[in-house]
Each structure stands twice: as structure tokens, then as C-alpha cells.
């Protein structure tokens, strides 16, 4: 495997030295391109109090292509499907090499505060979010308690 680009080393160092509040990202011991991520559910959102595990992988041509990010913890959210895949423009066509791991994770945290049922990935969740928002929020809280609060 090729040497780790300086950019990845720099980003990792900064993530360690100046962590983003509410977010931890730690590189795997055996693969410096694979990060174990924990995002805390934002205040005043149905995810408040939850700790959400994600995995983040920097592909070979990072930063020319976007990091691959996926929720491991089950989450009830219209833009995250049951496999944990995230519908977020900056992870797809709006990716720019000027964005970083920290900006991506901050965007994901912001997505938890502001679900967007008009651009969904999980159909039933999105539909309920549009038709009956209070029930959807109740579900989201329930899932947070059930899957994101143990350990």
C-alpha cells in the first residue's frame, strides 16, 4: 500500500488535537484510512441523548473523491436508509477537495438536526415524516433510546 498522503496525516492530527464538539473520529489501528466515528445526537432533536456510531473510509483518490460514510447504529431518519447510507449532497456531486473529514461530520450532525423529507433515502420514514411528523419524531426518539443509548 502506498504511503499515507500528508493531507490525511494532517487531518487526523487536527481531529485529535482539536476535536469537533459532539464528534469523535479515530483512525483504525490497522488502516489509517478507516475511521471509527461517534456522533452525539444534537440537542433539541429527536436524536438527543443518543450516541451514533458511523464508519468513514477515505478512498484511494481522496480528497479528489468524497469519503464514504455510513451509519452503523440504526437510526430513524428520512435521509438515512436501513443500511445506514446517507443522502447528503456533499458526499456525492457537491463534493469538493477543499472539504474535510471534519466538515463532512459536521454536515452529518446538522442533517440530524434538520431532516429533509423532500430528498429522502428511506421511503417509509420520509413518507411518515411528511404525513404525520409527530409520529415520525416519536419513532425517531424510540429508535434513539432503543439503539443509540445502550453502551
Amino acid at each position: 500500500m502506498a504511503a499515507l498522503p500528508r493531507r490525511i496525516i494532517k487531518e487526523t492530527q487536527r481531529l485529535m488535537q482539536e476535536p469537533v464538539p459532539g464528534i469523535s473520529a479515530v483512525p483504525d489501528d490497522s488502516n489509517a484510512r478507516y475511521f471509527h466515528v461517534i456522533v452525539t445526537g444534537p440537542e433539541d432533536s429527536p436524536f438527543e441523548g443518543g450516541l451514533f456510531k458511523l464508519e468513514l473510509f477515505l478512498p484511494e483518490d481522496y480528497p479528489m473523491s468524497a469519503p464514504k460514510v455510513r451509519f452503523i447504529t440504526k437510526i430513524y431518519h428520512p435521509n438515512i436508509d436501513r443500511l445506514g447510507r446517507i443522502c447528503l449532497d456533499i458526499l456525492k456531486d457537491k463534493w469538493s477537495p477543499a472539504l474535510q473529514i471534519r466538515t463532512v461530520l459536521l454536515s452529518i450532525q446538522a442533517l440530524l438536526s434538520a431532516p429533509n423529507p423532500d430528498d429522502p433515502l428511506a421511503n417509509d420514514v420520509a413518507e411518515l415524516w411528511k404525513v404525520n411528523e409527530s409520529e415520525a419524531i416519536r419513532n425517531a426518539k424510540e429508535w434513539t433510546r432503543k439503539y443509540a443509548m445502550d453502551n
Binding site: 480528497p63 479528489m64 436508509d81 443500511l83 447510507r85 456531486d93 469538493s96 477543499a98 429522502p120
Partner: protein, 478 residues
Amino acid sequence: MLQLLSSKKHIIENILRIYIKTSGNTLCIDIDPKYDIRQIKNIVAPKIGLEPDELKVIFAGKELADNIVIEDCDLGEQSILHVVKVKEKVPKKINDYGMKPLCEILDDSMFSPISESRNNSISVEANDVAHILNNDTDANITSNQQVLVKKIHFYVYCPTCKGLKQGKLRVRCNFCKSGAFTVHSDPQNWTHVLENKQITGTCENDTQFCEDILQNREPTFAEFYFKCSEHISLGENDQAVPLYLIRPNLKQIQCLACLDISYDAVFVFPCQNDHVMCLDCFKQYCMSKLTERQFWQHPEYGYTLACPNGCADSFIKEIHHFRLLDDQNYDRYHRFATEEFVLQSGGLLCPQPGCGMGILADTDCKRITCQGCKYVFCRLCLQGYHIGECGPIENDDLNNQSTSCESELSCNNGNNGEIASRTTIKIMTKPCPSCKTPTERDGGCMHMICTRAGCKFHWCWVCQTEWTTECMGDHWFG
């Protein structure tokens, strides 16, 4: 005298062969780079029957003063100096712009990434460097690298050397193209150099010729052009393309991709923020955009890219910058550009594996014959030509092609791979209803957006037509 001269030649340690162009004559002389202009005049004058004081030596838009030394003039082997006869025998006045060579007057800061740096002194720049270094804990920079060399660097694509080289700025008459031309003022920025008719001057080529012809219409303008500084000049037509977005990194700006500060040249995107990438990252950026087919076919500039930060109006206008790609990728760039051009002109590409020839046919003609491989296919479904509606994919169609392929293209072992790829593409993909690009759906909803940068058509995976609110209501997720 002749003997004396020739014996003197042997004493010259570094011989520089240059050409002297006078009105009607070209002389070839060998000189020492340490000669000054006065010595050149002394050598040339007797050969053309004039007194040294009657001569003017012009190089790169400047009349050179007698005390200028050749080696300070950025003059390469087999360069051309223009020698003209002075019009009136008045004692020369030294005016402040005319007597120093162009390369001594211009400095890098005029052309550096941040436009306001022209007003900054060198100390301000040094402070900036220190500031960046303090923030960059792991930067290991020797004091030598901090010394900012104030020498103008132009970068060019040289068609002779086939690569990125340092360039030399030259000047000629915009009207008659003669190099015997002196500018009235020095260029101050890239606009003056790249755009036509920015700086006026005097054409010394033919007495009054250019001025007379242009009289009452416009003044005589200078035309700037570039030569490669790394090979011996092949004459006046040996030019290079200025890659003006590649500039010295005077302000020590961080590369937006690798976050390093390059001490060599960097690529400066033509956006308001002057975003900077080091050349290695720029090449990678081009290659990954090329692989994803995300270059944009711009009606004016061609197949190009914009600033990766999505800044407005930031397309790269001079597509020779993509010459930074290696040969293989540059060929690919060319091929993709041509394909995109054909598609945007309403043409299509032959679907036969290994062919892909661009075809421009009448839009109402459904039966298309490829002139390259003679494959006959249906314009609508890109399958073998058929009568009636386009049907589902037939497997025997594949078999037919394998025989025709063998006979017409004499394919051998590679054929099996091609057929296998083709089968996979047929099974895994659906064509974009607008541009027919085979598209794979690897998850998510049924709302497809064509991945081809020039298309971006919104379509429905189920209906294979344009995406509508009905699709959203009925089968958004299948």
C-alpha cells in the same frame, strides 16, 4: 582584422550564437554572453555599412542601452536581435522605460496569484510566510527556501519539448509581426500580456509603414507572445502557449487539496478567491474528473473544468493547461472531449465495442450505419437495426454480433472479454432516456440523474422517461 577576430573567437569561453536581423538582412554572429550592446553595435555596424552610433538594438519590445550586458537579457542560443538605423541623429536621451531589457523590468509580483500583491513590498510577503509557518507545526523549511526570488517566471506548454517549461516573453508588432518593435509602456499584469491591443508601441521595421497604414484608425499595438526557454530557438515561428494559470507561489498559499505549501509553481484557479492547487494535485483533480466524465463542454472554451470549490465563473479558459496530464490521459481527454462534442451536436457514438466512432446523421433517420465498422443499428435503442418498435434485449443479438465481429474486425481472444463486458452492461444498466449513456443503479430511489456532465437528465428508472411527480407518487422507491 579578420584573423584577429577569428583568433579572438577562440578566447570566448561560452559562445552564444545569435542572429542579427536588419532591414532586409539576417546576420549570424557568435558572441560572448558578457558582451554589452556597445560591443554588438561595433561588430554589426561595419557589416552593414553604418556607424555604431547610427544603430538601435531592439529586443523583446525594448531598445537596449549601450551598457546592457547580453547575459542579463534572457537571450537564448540562436535568439534574434533586431538592429535598425536611428531615424534622426539626435543624441540619445535615456527615458525611463526604454533602455533596460523587459526581463529586468517585470517582476513576479505583477503576475502573482493575489492581485493586490502588486502593491505589497517584499517584507509583507515575508511576514505572511512567517505567519503561515508558525501555524504549520510540522513544516520543515530551510531558510534558503524562504528567500523569495524576484524573477519573472512564465510557464508555457512547449509543442517542441512536449511539456511544461519556463517561458520567455517576447514582443512584436501586432500589425506586421516584426520583432523590431519598441513598447511605449511595460505590461503590468496578465491582461496586458494575454489580450490584444493593450499596449502601444512603435514599429521600427519599415520606415513609417505600419504607422502610415494604420493612420487615423488606431495606434500601432504591441503583440506579446511566448517562447520556450529550454530549447534552442527554431526561429520566429517557434512559439509556446502561455499557461498563465500556473504561477510562482509568491504568497505561499496552501494547496486546497493536500494542504501543503508548494515552493514551486502552483495552479491558480480563475475564480474570485484565487484558489490554489499544487501541480500534482491539479493533475490528480483532472484525472479523477476525467474518469468520472465530469469535464464540461463549454461552448466557448471547450472541454474544461471549473474551480473545485464551485466558485462562480471559474472555468479554465485556456484548455492547454490540461497538457499537464500525461500522454495517455491527455489522449483520453481528447477522446472524451470529441465524444462530448459529437453528443452535444446531436450526433451519436457507434455502440459497437472497440469502435465508438462519432456519427452525425439526420435526426429523423432511425437506421444508422457506422462508417468505421459498418455496424448497422437503431438510433433509438442502439441495438442492431430492427423494423418496428424497440424490443427488450435479445440474447441472440449478442451471438450475431460475435460472428460479425470476428469477420469484420478480426478480433481474437479479446473478443470474449468484450462480449462479456457487453453482456454485463446490458444486464446491469439502463440507457439514459436522453443521451443513452448506460447507467447502473446501485441503490437509493428510482430518481436517476444522468452522470454525464453534459447531460444531467432527470429520469425514472422504472418508466425510463423523464422524472415526473407521478413517478414520485407511484414508485419513488420501487
